[in-house]
Amino acid sequence: MSIERINHKLCIGCGVCVDTCPMDVIRLDKKRKKAVIKYPEDCMLCLYCERECPVHAIYVSPEKTAPVMLSWG
């Protein structure tokens, strides 16, 4: 789903987003010391990474990237 961007100009490689994400969407690139979005399809739009990032480097879009299965539509 919908985590879209981690701004590497702002990212300080603290790893809070990596720890915070319950879905293991974000990983730390050890060489560049920056957080990278590794599995965006597993994002459940909880927004916690965006909220916890100390430098506001993360943007989560409210739009889905893959269709969500609903009971009716």
């Binding site: 597993d42 459940m44 609903l70």
Partner: protein, 576 residues
């Protein structure tokens, strides 16, 4: 090359939420060593962290009466609640509240005064949303609990009929972990299908599936959280008020139905259908071609407006900001099923069957707590906001004490090498396959088989049977061929396997219960059938087959059968 770690511990706790942390802390207080594992990060993950934080407890200082509180649950959960457990949970709840306070948990206090929510005679407080899960973690660490994050426990270790530990893997490194435990507490949450808009993708039925495979009994699977029909008086009221004008989607506030996770905690009733009429049951309106549904914000009562105001204040939710929604402005808000889309069960009303008041399961050495433990505090529907976390704290504490007692008495067992090799083969299967099916695809297929409302919400024997044929096929022929291309996908494969098993349980339990009640509605049996179905449906593996059985509730808990049906049951199913 992946490492193999063997960890010996007195008490192993699987899951680091409210239930797991209480279990770990209380066990540690008995002097045993405790290892707490979580497939994500304790204090930041899981249902506990994502809950709004509501905590119900019986407060003698406020003159709360146990009998009145229990009676409300009897009626609202349609008599399938276990009253004995209801009393235990409510009696223990004040002490658990005191624990939380002493552990540094703060409660919502607008204008400096603790806000008290009311639901009938029940009252509850709200823990500050982002603080309480980290506080639980800090307390566990302070007690000397060893926390291991990002470890997906895949199977329980069983020897001579007893649970002696578990096998899991690290979701990043892929290292194998073999836990040898004197006793195990499983507090790994509830179940869902990763579908819909509520962010509950962590609920993948891990606890039930592992316990089921080890031989435990599971119950409560047929009741869907959020599927209860409306109250008779409310429907009459709406009918009398006449139809609300809804211009086709033009005056609808938001067109992002998929982004509704946080709002599912808000009071979004009253709900009206596309024709502006009252909603008896959400899925039924869709069935009759009257979806989409709307929350009519202008028709909110002052109480509902107050509830929503406080909900958004304390949740610090970014969601309305993100989609430009101002709920105070009024208007119509498109309503999505939320929990229903994800096929979630009732908190405290589904999971592993406990056999005593210490939350021991039928498997010696295994204890269950939280949403994984089916005390049936709630019966056929949820007893009310705040009881889930309360139930988790009480069962967690009891399971922790029970497990530590058992661990102190149990003898050290050497793990049978053949059994371990057998489990390792099953656990490693997805990463060892060269070809197979991706967990993402299998999950999508599983969702498309049962998420459409006409399978699990507006049920019918024919459709349940049809879905069961397909889900059985999935479990027999597709799930064993799940393939993981990396360690991340390895966890997903495990979760998919558990979700598929959970789905078969829901379908079999739904087919077995030939009546409608609470969160279980069948078109072919649209009324409650007392006293025949005043019973719990249990599932157990026997000789490789899923066996379904009935356990009647004690007769003294029956409703008064001489009272008219409409009086016994204030909620009205379609077609009544």
């Amino acid at each position: 090359m992946a490492l193999e770690n063997v960890i010996e511990t007195d008490v192993l706790v699987i899951g680091g939420g409210m239930a797991g942390c209480f279990a770990a802390v209380k066990a540690r207080e008995q002097g045993v060593n405790v290892t707490l594992v979580d497939k994500a990060y304790v204090g930041k993950s899981g249902a506990t962290h994502f809950s709004a934080g509501d905590f119900t407890f019986l407060n003698p200082e406020r003159g709360h009466q146990l009998d009145a509180w229990i009676e409300q649950i009897n009626i609202s959960t349609e008599y399938l609640n276990n009253r004995k457990w209801g009393e235990i949970v409510l009696k223990d709840s004040y002490e658990r509240y005191r624990d939380l306070v002493s552990w540094g948990v703060r409660f919502y206090e607008p204008d400096g005064k603790t806000y008290i929510y009311r639901n009938g005679v029940h009252e509850h407080l709200s823990m500050l949303n982002r603080e309480y899960a980290p506080a639980l973690r800090r307390r566990a660490v302070k007690s000397g609990v060893r926390i291991l994050n990002r470890i997906m426990v895949a199977e329980l270790l069983k020897q001579q009929g007893k649970i002696v530990g578990a096998v899991g893997f690290h979701t990043n490194s892929g290292d194998l972990y073999i836990f040898k435990a004197g006793a195990t507490v499983i507090a790994a949450g509830s179940s869902s299908l990763k579908s819909g808009s509520t962010p509950t993708h962590y609920w993948t039925s891990d606890a039930e599936a592992m316990a089921y495979r080890a031989g435990a009994e599971i119950t409560g699977k047929e009741f869907m959280w959020g599927s209860e029909p409306a109250l008779r008086p409310a429907i009459k009221e709406r009918e009398q008020a006449g139809k609300t004008k809804v211009k086709k989607s033009i005056d609808v506030l938001t067109r992002f139905p998929e982004f509704r996770g946080g709002l599912s905690g808000a009071m979004l009733n009253p709900v009206i259908n596309a024709e502006g009429g009252p909603v008896i049951m959400a899925a039924w309106e869709a069935h009759c071609g009257r979806a989409p549904l709307y929350a009519d914000l202008d028709a909110f009562s002052p109480e509902q407006k107050e509830w929503n105001h406080h909900f958004f204040e304390r949740m610090e939710t970014a969601e309305p900001d993100k989609i430009g929604l101002d709920i105070s402005k009024g208007g119509k808000l498109e309503y999505t099923a939320g929990r229903l889309d994800a096929a979630q069960p009732i908190p405290g009303g589904a999971g592993i069957w406990p056999v005593n008041t210490s939350c021991a399961t039928a498997l010696p050495g295994l204890y269950a707590a939280g949403d994984s433990c089916a005390t049936m505090l709630s019966g056929a529907s949820y007893a009310g906001v705040g009881l889930g976390l309360c139930h988790a704290s009480v069962t967690g504490a009891r399971a922790g004490l029970g497990a530590s007692e058992y661990a102190l008495k149990s003898q050290k067992t050497t793990i049978d090498k053949r059994e371990l090799a057998r489990l390792k083969k099953i656990v490693f299967a997805p990463v060892e396959r060269k070809g197979g099916f991706s967990p993402g695809w299998v999950t999508l297929v599983l969702q498309s088989m049962v998420v459409p409302y006409f399978i699990l919400q507006v049920k019918h024997g024919e459709r349940l049977q049809a879905a069961l044929v397909l889900v059985e096929f999935l479990n027999k022929h597709i799930v064993p061929k799940l393939m993981a291309r990396d360690t991340h996908e390895w966890r997903l494969a495990q979760e998919t396997r558990n979700m598929a098993l959970n789905t078969e349980m829901i379908l079999r339990a739904s087919l077995f219960r030939k009546e409608s009640r609470g969160g279980h509605f069948r078109e072919d049996y649209p009324r409650r059938d007392d006293p025949a179905w005043l019973a719990w449906v249990k599932l157990k593996e026997e000789k490789g087959e899923m066996k379904v059985s009935r356990e009647p509730i004690p007769q003294k808990w029956w409703p008064d059968l001489s009272r008219p049906y409409e009086e016994r049951y204030p909620r009205m199913f379609p077609g009544e």
